[in-house]
Every structure is written in structure tokens, then in C-alpha cells.
């Protein structure tokens, strides 16, 4: 099958890749570009582990084809903070022990960032509603919600 040439901006860098028409963005990110922070939980858009931002819109990268993203600006978990300086959201997840196995965490961090960009001061209910597409099997969510609301507060204070 002929591969298609795609040009995108990922985490601020210009990225070009070749992909087959059927390759999902998730496959491209992980297998072609080595951005393995984005996880596959279900491959059907139901768990949110593969959440990324495309042009500031929160999507499941398993439901987007790589070829569709030509010209798009993509942000993955690798673009949110780095190992020297974590993003506030990541710091708060650690502080509240809001992760266990960690497979849902990158998707939740990306979703939380999208939430707080849209709504810097969410109520608990709004946060729960927004994050309803991110499944976690380990934590029971309580610490996640606490981390998200704490991150929101910290980000508002420093804004």
C-alpha cells in the first residue's frame, strides 16, 4: 500500500511522517514517532488513555487517522512538562497519589489540561463531567478529582 506523507506540528516541533491510510494517529505517535506516552487502552474511543489535543481540541487518537492530521497542531503528554520540570497538573497527580498503574494517567493529564484551558475554575461536578471519558481501573477516581481541582486552584493563583 502506498504511504502518505503527512506534515504536522507535534509538541511545538515540525514533524513529518509517512503512514498508511488505515494507520491511526495513535499508531503513528507510538510506532513511527516513538511518542509512547500516549497509551492504547481499548482502541475504540471508550477509555481515553490515548487522549491528545489536535488544534486545542481533545480527541482520542485511536479514532483519528494519521493522514487526517496534515497541517494540524498536535499536543501529546510529552509536550506537557518535562522530566526536569513537571507541569502543575503532573505535580498535583503525584502529590495526591492520583495514579497507580499509570496507564490512564497520560490521557487524564491531557484531558485535565484541556479542561482547565476551557474552564480554569471548574466545579467538582464540571470536572467529573469533563473527565468522564477517561477510565481508570485502579484508583477509584477520588484522588484524581482532588488533584485536578488542586491543580486548577494552583494554576489560577499563578496565572
Amino acid at each position: 500500500m502506498a504511504k502518505t506523507h503527512v506534515t504536522t506540528t507535534i509538541n511545538g516541533d515540525l514533524k513529518e511522517f509517512l503512514c498508511e491510510p488505515g494507520d491511526t494517529l495513535l499508531q503513528v505517535l507510538r510506532d513511527e514517532l516513538g511518542l509512547t506516552g500516549t497509551k492504547e487502552g481499548c482502541g475504540s474511543g471508550d477509555c481515553g488513555a490515548c487522549s491528545v489535543l489536535i488544534n486545542d481540541r481533545l480527541v482520542c487518537s485511536c479514532l483519528v487517522l494519521g493522514v487526517e492530521t496534515n497541517g494540524d497542531v498536535i499536543e501529546t503528554v510529552e509536550g506537557i512538562g518535562d522530566s526536569d520540570k513537571l507541569h502543575v497538573i503532573q505535580e498535583k497527580f503525584l502529590e495526591h497519589a492520583a495514579l497507580q498503574c499509570g496507564i490512564c494517567t497520560p490521557g487524564l493529564v491531557v484531558s485535565t489540561k484541556a479542561l482547565l484551558e476551557e474552564n480554569p475554575n471548574p466545579t467538582e461536578e464540571e470536572a467529573r463531567y469533563y473527565l468522564a471519558g477517561n477510565l481508570c481501573r485502579c484508583t477509584g477516581y477520588d484522588k484524581i478529582i482532588k488533584a485536578v481541582l488542586d491543580a486548577a486552584e494552583t494554576m489560577r493563583e499563578s496565572a
Partner: protein, 738 residues
């Protein structure tokens, strides 16, 4: 992954019970990217990977026993090519009648292994002569583990026919054993490594092996690295789940609600093979008492065979199913006597008074924690006050009804297979004073690596950052048990401590001689070793010891004392100790739609002296929510063909962030060190809190019961899906009309 890695996939059956008439793999072989195809005939060694007894073919040959069974496997140059090719087989089946549920298996008299019975006292006499008696049936559904990271293994061929396996498995040693047997080579030629898992919950105790073995067969055959990862729908269909259970019971009790005698038959739906079902049904039997003294009891555990995927370990391992069975009986007694279910529970608690302290398998309950724990939780959760408010709310409201319930748990800690209660550790101190730790336990998000590293840091009194815990590997610590049965910290923590103790002794022996100072003047304190009046940085003494030729590496070992179980007499002390807890859940239901929400949960959990409160609270919250999911929204549905219809998160609903209570209070039961000599007197925390999810189910039941003024028992099996709740509401409405 190396660039020449192949991707393997399994070809799965589309029948639940059949003989295979023909298997045409031509289209698979000629598909794009395909490098190799294997059938049962291509397995060089052992063909059956049953973990305890045979019954689990790696690749089935002539018969199919469940929908999704592996018929062949294919390796290709990409994951999508392998998956695509695996669907191209042409299979002709001679279909056979399939027993798809427990009832059908029982009718067909089909069992994966013999029944086991535990009995105490004259049950029939006790029930027949009790002032009241009840009988009934109860069913609880299975549950998919739904670890967020699916099953995956990579096999890498090495020199001299050796094989390195990276796998997402709770049981690296068993993986090693099975890969070796399947390949027909010595165990010593296979190394299995598990860095971490993205969740497991029991689903990777035995059901990770098949994928590692298939990858290894291809790796041996093609001399290339091979990766096998299941897509979610196939992971659902082809790997085992929590056992569904059915029970039939007869119970005798007095007007105070005290149980006089209980006769219960438990039927565990095992699927097509034994796998771990014997131990799982046993654990259900061991937990049929929960926290309650049963003066006379007979419990029979049946291991029913069905033509569905072989069910396996899932957090609690049968224990929750046994406990749910008696909690349902307690609820029935409460309705029959008109007594608050909490009072019925308390009156039946084990106690030393009147020697009401021996289980039905003759283990004596030595630590009576549940009574003070429940008393505390009743107060902190404001149970009685809220119950009063709820009763009033229910009188004032016709459509919405609220319910509240407290349920306790007593969970037996130890593998019930005695020999599995052992663990090893390996500890190296390097000359810069940093410490490398390895142990037989695997990390799946439960925080085991952190806990064991903390134990080692505490032993040497060094900062946690000085300890590096390396990936679990069968060439570092051999012959390990699975990380299961909540035993990870108990076993591996003690083994690591043993290794640390040996090294400390060597260092002390050395310092004693080198500094000519009495042993009593040497201590480890805050990154330093204190010798008499002098303080030395830890690493300085390590360097000195090295130069004086002291070995700075040690193994550690632990085996749990005191435990045994005699299957002949069905008595013994299978558990080293018990972990306790209790939860109060409050719910609101819509009696016209069956929908409900869990509004508030209060938990008090006995973890002994906590090794790490943040980790323990995480386990408790996560366990509760998983248990709540099991009993509320998680419903496995099969089509008539035996195909699993609920095979992904869209059709199988695990709790999402909006389903959990917004008020969620969790407390560790204070001042309650384990009286047994466990690691720093802590207690296991992995499985017990899952059982607390039962309180959500009983709270829903309580809300439904309000429809008929709590006089009629709702007919409610588990899971209490909205459909089930609505049906139960309708039933009570019609009983009220009569």
C-alpha cells in the same frame, strides 16, 4: 524493540463447543506480511499449559471448548498485518451442544473437578430446631479485570537457544516454567522479566502465560524477536474473568437474628477448564462466614464446567463471592425479623464470649477487630442518624428512594496452597553506598516496589532515594510465587528485610572488629553508621567494608509460619491472620427507571500498622470502586452462540469518574498493629477493600425495600444493573398492591 521484531496474533474460534472438521490456513499463510503460521502440531514441547492440572491447550487441535479459543497463531511484519491475517482462516465446525451458564453446566453434571465440603456441627438438626428458617437462591455475575494495559509479551531469542521474555505478568516464574516446557528446554534457559504492569487484578496471574508461550514458539522458530499483544475485544473474549457464582441455602436463626445453622451449596462457574478454580471455589467456601460465627454449618463448593473462557483470578479470588452469599442471607434474616441489618450483623460477629470464635474450618479467630471497627464507623459515618433521615425521606417521596447500608469484611490472608507462601529477595550494596533491590514480587500499580524499598531504607536508615528497585526477573530471584492473594508486601517485604538483616549483620561484625568496639555501640541512623562516639556516612563504611573484603550482596528468604490446611478433614489454619474493614454506602434510586447513584461512602479499614498510608488509601478507594462496579454496572453478556457480547468498555461498563461517590471518606483503623509478626506489623490491603463494594449493593437493596416498607425482601441478584433494580421495584410495587 529491535527493528526485525515480528508481530504475532492468535486465530480464535467462532464456536463455543465443537469439533474442528477442517482448518484451512492457506489464506492466512499467503496474507500480506505473514512470515510464519503455527498450529498445535508446531509446538515443540508441552502442548497444555494448565497451571495446576491440564485442560488449557496452548493451541487447541481438534476440539473447541469456548468462543475465542486459540486455533492457530500467525506472525507477520506488523501488528495490523498479523491481526488481519488471523481473521482469514477457513474453519469448519461440527457444532456440539454448549453449556453456557452455571445452570446448564449443572444440568449436564459437568464439573472441572470434584466437590469439596466443609462441615461443622449437626447442621440439619440446628436448622430444623431453630425458631425460624429461610431458604433461597442467589446469583452473582462474573467480572472482567479490564486492566487498562492489555495482555502483551515479547520473546527475544538469545544465544544457545536461550529465551528472554518481557511480559505483563503477575507470575514470572510460572511464565518461565511454561515457556521452557512448551519450547522443550531447561527452565534455566528461559528468563522472564516484568518491569511493571498496567494493572492486572488477577487477570495476569495465569492468563498472561499463553501469549508469552506463543510469542516464544515463534521466536524459537524464526530466530527473531516476537511481540504478541491482544486487541481489547479479543482480550475480553479469550482471557478469564471473575467466577460467576450461584448459591442455594437454608438458614436457621432465632428471633434476635442470630444464626443457628447454615447449609449452603456454592456453584462456581469455572468456564472450560480448572485453571485456578479449585483454589477460588475453596476461598469462597473459606469466606462463607465473613465476620459471623456459625454454630453449625455445611458448605459445599462445586466447580461447574461451562463452554466459556476459563475463569481465573480476580482480586478477592472467590472470597468476595462467598462473602456476598452470606451478606445476602443476613439481609434476608433482617427483613424476616424486622431488625436493622446492622444489628443482625453485630449480633452474629465472632466473639470470645461463649466461645463463638471458631470458624467452620476450625481456625480460631484470635484478634477481634471487627466489633470496635464497626462501632467506630457507625459513629464517624453517623449511620443511625442518617438512617432515620432516609426513612423519613422515603415516606415523603414516591419516586426517588434512598438507602443506606453497612457491610463488614474479614479476609483471610495467605495463599491457601501452603507451598506458595514463600518469597525471595536479592540485595546489593555498591561502593558508593547506593543499594539495588530485587524481589520476587511484581509491580502492577499497587505500590509494591515502593513499599519494599521503604522497608529496606528503614532497615539501613538511609534515604529512600538511595534504593533502586530493579525489574522482577527470574534470573535474579528464582522459583517465586505469583504476586497475588494480597501477599506481595507480606512475603517480599519480609524476604527483603531478611537480606537487609544479613548485610547489616556483616557490616556490624566488620565494624565491631575493625573499630574494636562493642556491638551495642554500633547503629544505623539517618544515612550514617554510628560507631561509638564517631559518626560515619553510610557509604564510607561500605567502602571500608569492601576494602576489607566483606561481601555486600545477600539473598533474603521468607516463608509464612503457622499455616496449614488438611483437605481430608477440611480443617486447619489456612490463614496467617485476617484483615478487617467496613463500609457505609448511601444511595438514591429512581424507582421508575431503576437508575441510581451512590451518594456517599465511608470506609474504615484495618491495615495493621500501615507501611504507606497514601498507597493503602489508594488501594482501599480503588478496591471499593472495583467491588462496587462488580455489583452494579459491570455485566457480562453472552450471545446464544457463546460469543461474548460485552467485549469492550463501550458495552461493559466499569465505573467512570461520575459514578463514584462525591463524598468518599476513608480512614485507616487507628492503633491496630498486626498481632502476628508481619513486616512491621502491617496487614495486607490488596483484596479486602474490594469486598466493601457489597455495601453499595445492599444500600440499593435497602432503597428498593422501602417500597414495601421493608417487609418484603427484594429479589435482587448481582450485578444490580438499572434493569434489575427496576424489576425488583416493580415486584415490590406489585407485592404491595396485593
Amino acid at each position: 524493540m529491535p527493528s526485525n521484531t515480528l508481530f504475532a496474533y492468535a486465530g480464535l474460534s467462532h464456536a463455543s463447543h465443537a469439533t474442528i472438521k477442517s482448518l484451512d490456513l492457506d489464506a492466512v499463510r499467503s496474507a500480506h506480511g505473514v512470515v510464519s503460521v503455527i498450529t498445535a502440531d508446531d509446538i515443540p514441547g508441552l502442548k497444555d499449559i494448565g497451571p495446576v492440572i491440564p485442560g488449557d491447550p496452548l493451541i487447541t487441535k481438534s476440539s473447541v471448548e469456548f468462543y475465542g479459543q486459540v486455533l492457530f497463531a500467525v506472525a507477520a511484519t506488523s501488528q495490523s498485518d498479523a491481526r488481519r491475517a488471523a481473521r482469514l482462516a477457513r474453519v469448519e465446525y461440527d457444532l456440539l451442544p454448549a453449556d453456557l451458564d452455571i445452570e446448564a453446566g449443572r444440568k449436564a453434571n459437568s464439573y472441572v473437578s470434584p466437590m469439596h465440603c466443609q462441615q461443622k456441627g449437626n447442621v440439619d438438626f440446628a436448622i430444623d430446631n431453630a425458631p425460624f428458617s429461610l431458604e433461597g437462591k442467589f446469583a452473582s455475575g462474573g467480572q472482567e479485570q479490564m486492566y487498562l494495559e492489555g495482555q502483551v509479551s515479547i520473546a527475544i531469542p538469545e544465544e544457545n537457544g536461550n529465551m528472554l521474555i518481557h511480559t505483563s505478568s503477575q507470575n514470572p516464574s510460572e511464565g518461565q516454567k511454561l515457556v521452557a516446557k512448551v519450547l522443550g528446554i531447561d527452565y534455566s534457559k528461559v528468563t522472564v522479566q516484568v518491569r511493571r504492569m498496567g494493572g492486572a487484578f488477577g487477570g495476569k496471574e495465569t492468563h498472561a502465560n499463553q501469549w508469552a508461550c506463543l510469542a516464544a514458539v515463534f521466536a524459537q522458530k524464526t530466530k527473531r524477536p516476537v511481540r504478541l499483544r491482544l486487541a481489547r475485544a479479543d482480550d475480553f473474549s479469550s482471557t478469564g474473568k471473575r467466577h460467576p457464582f450461584e448459591s442455594q441455602y437454608r438458614v436457621g436463626f432465632d428471633k434476635e437474628g442470630r444464626i443457628r445453622g447454615l447449609d449452603v451449596d456454592l456453584y462456581g462457574g469455572c468456564g472450560m477448564s480448572a485453571d485456578l478454580s479449585n483454589a477460588i471455589v475453596d476461598r469462597a467456601m473459606f469466606h462463607i462466614d465473613n465476620c459471623y460465627y456459625l454454630p453449625a454449618v455445611r458448605v459445599r463448593g462445586y466447580r461447574v464446567k461451562t463452554h466459556t473462557v476459563s475463569n481465573t483470578a480476580f482480586r478477592g479470588f472467590g472470597g468476595p463471592q462467598g462473602i456476598l452469599a452470606i451478606e445476602n442471607i443476613i439481609e434476608q434474616i433482617a427483613t424476616a425479623t424486622g431488625i436493622d441489618p446492622l444489628k443482625v450483623r453485630e449480633r452474629n460477629f465472632y466473639t470470645d464470649e461463649g466461645n463463638r470464635n471458631r470458624t467452620h474450618y476450625a481456625q480460631t479467630i484470635e484478634q477481634h477487630i471487627i466489633e470496635p471497627l464497626v462501632t467506630r464507623l457507625t459513629e464517624t459515618s453517623d449511620y443511625y442518624e442518617r438512617r432515620k433521615d432516609i426513612r423519613k425521606f422515603n415516606v415523603d417521596n414516591d419516586v426517588l428512594k434512598r438507602g443506606i447500608s453497612l457491610t463488614p469484611v474479614k479476609f483471610g490472608i495467605s495463599f491457601t496452597m501452603q507451598h506458595m507462601n514463600q518469597a525471595g529477595a536479592l540485595l546489593h550494596i555498591y561502593t558508593d553506598g547506593s543499594i539495588q533491590l530485587n524481589h520476587g514480587g511484581t509491580e502492577m500499580g499497587q505500590g509494591l516496589y515502593t513499599k519494599v524499598a521503604q522497608i529496606v531504607a528503614r532497615e539501613f536508615s538511609v534515604d529512600l532515594s538511595r534504593i533502586t528497585c530493579t525489574a522482577t526477573r527470574t534470573d535474579k530471584v528464582p522459583n517465586t510465587s505469583p504476586t497475588a492473594a494480597s501477599s506481595g508486601s507480606d512475603l517480599n517485604g519480609m524476604a527483603a528485610r531478611d537480606a537487609a538483616t544479613k548485610l547489616k549483620k556483616r557490616l556490624c561484625d566488620f565494624a565491631e572488629k575493625h573499630f574494636s568496639t562493642p556491638r551495642s555501640s554500633i547503629s544505623f541512623n539517618n544515612g550514617q553508621i554510628i560507631v561509638g562516639k564517631e559518626k560515619y556516612p553510610f557509604e564510607d563504611i561500605i567502602k571500608l567494608a569492601y576494602h576489607h573484603r566483606v561481601s555486600l550482596s545477600a539473598t533474603g528468604y521468607y516463608r509464612t509460619p503457622k499455616i496449614y490446611y488438611d483437605r481430608e478433614t477440611a480443617t486447619g489454619r489456612p490463614f496467617f491472620y485476617f484483615a478487617y474493614g467496613a463500609a457505609v454506602a448511601e444511595t438514591i434510586i429512581d424507582t421508575l427507571s431503576g437508575e441510581y447513584r451512590i451518594l456517599r461512602v465511608d470506609i474504615c479499614q484495618d491495615v495493621g500498622q500501615s507501611l504507606n498510608p497514601a498507597i493503602d488509601i489508594g488501594q482501599i478507594e480503588g478496591g471499593f470502586v472495583q467491588g462496587m462496579g462488580w455489583l452494579t454496572t459491570e455485566e457480562l453478556k453472552w450471545e446464544q452462540t457463546g460469543r461474548l457480547a460485552s467485549h469492550g468498555p463501550a458495552t461493559y461498563k466499569i465505573p467512570a469518574v461520575g459514578d463514584t461517590p462525591s463524598e468518599f471518606n476513608v480512614e485507616l483503623f487507628p492503633n491496630s498493629p498486626n498481632t502476628e509478626a508481619t513486616i512491621f506489623h502491617s496487614k495486607a490491603v490488596g483484596e479486602p477493600p474490594l469486598v466493601l463494594g457489597i455495601s453499595a449493593w445492599t444500600a440499593i437493596r435497602d432503597a428498593i425495600a422501602s417500597i414495601a416498607e421493608y417487609r418484603v425482601s427484594p429479589i435482587l441478584d448481582a450485578p444490580a444493573t438499572p434493569e434489575q433494580v427496576l424489576a425488583a421495584c416493580d415486584h415490590l410495587r406489585s407485592s404491595r398492591a396485593l
